[in-house]
Symmetry: C2
Subunit: 69 residues, 2 copies
């Protein structure tokens, strides 16, 4: 089973760095806690669809895009 938490983590981190943001910046922009962002990027969290949508919007991509390998 492919680990989609890891895939999501990689994609979030890449998209965030593309924007030149720190985790704290992304936390502020999304309104999501910074420790939670950290957990998502490390692949240890299991976020809800609403979270994926928030992240995707802020990172200027789509939920679908965040889950592509």
């Amino acid at each position: 089973m492919e680990n989609y938490r890891k895939i999501l983590g990689r994609n979030v981190r890449a998209a965030r760095k593309d924007l030149g943001w720190s985790q704290e910046d992304l936390a502020f922009e999304t309104g999501i806690d910074r420790t939670y962002i950290s957990g998502i990027e490390r692949g240890v969290r299991n976020p809800s669809l609403d979270m994926l949508v928030k992240l995707a919007k802020t990172l200027k991509t789509t939920p679908s895009g965040l889950l592509e390998k």
Copy 2:
């Protein structure tokens, strides 16, 4: 804001019907409760990433594919 719960619901229902399955069939194959499947298809639930992965695998698609418009 596009409603990704509805998008997911539409895609799950379409993929399920493509396989000629009832909600009960899908519930059995995924191990998820039938009423929970119903809630996802109607867009009233906010499923986690792990749920999306389970559904995608059983429906022979990908989490990313389930979130495309």
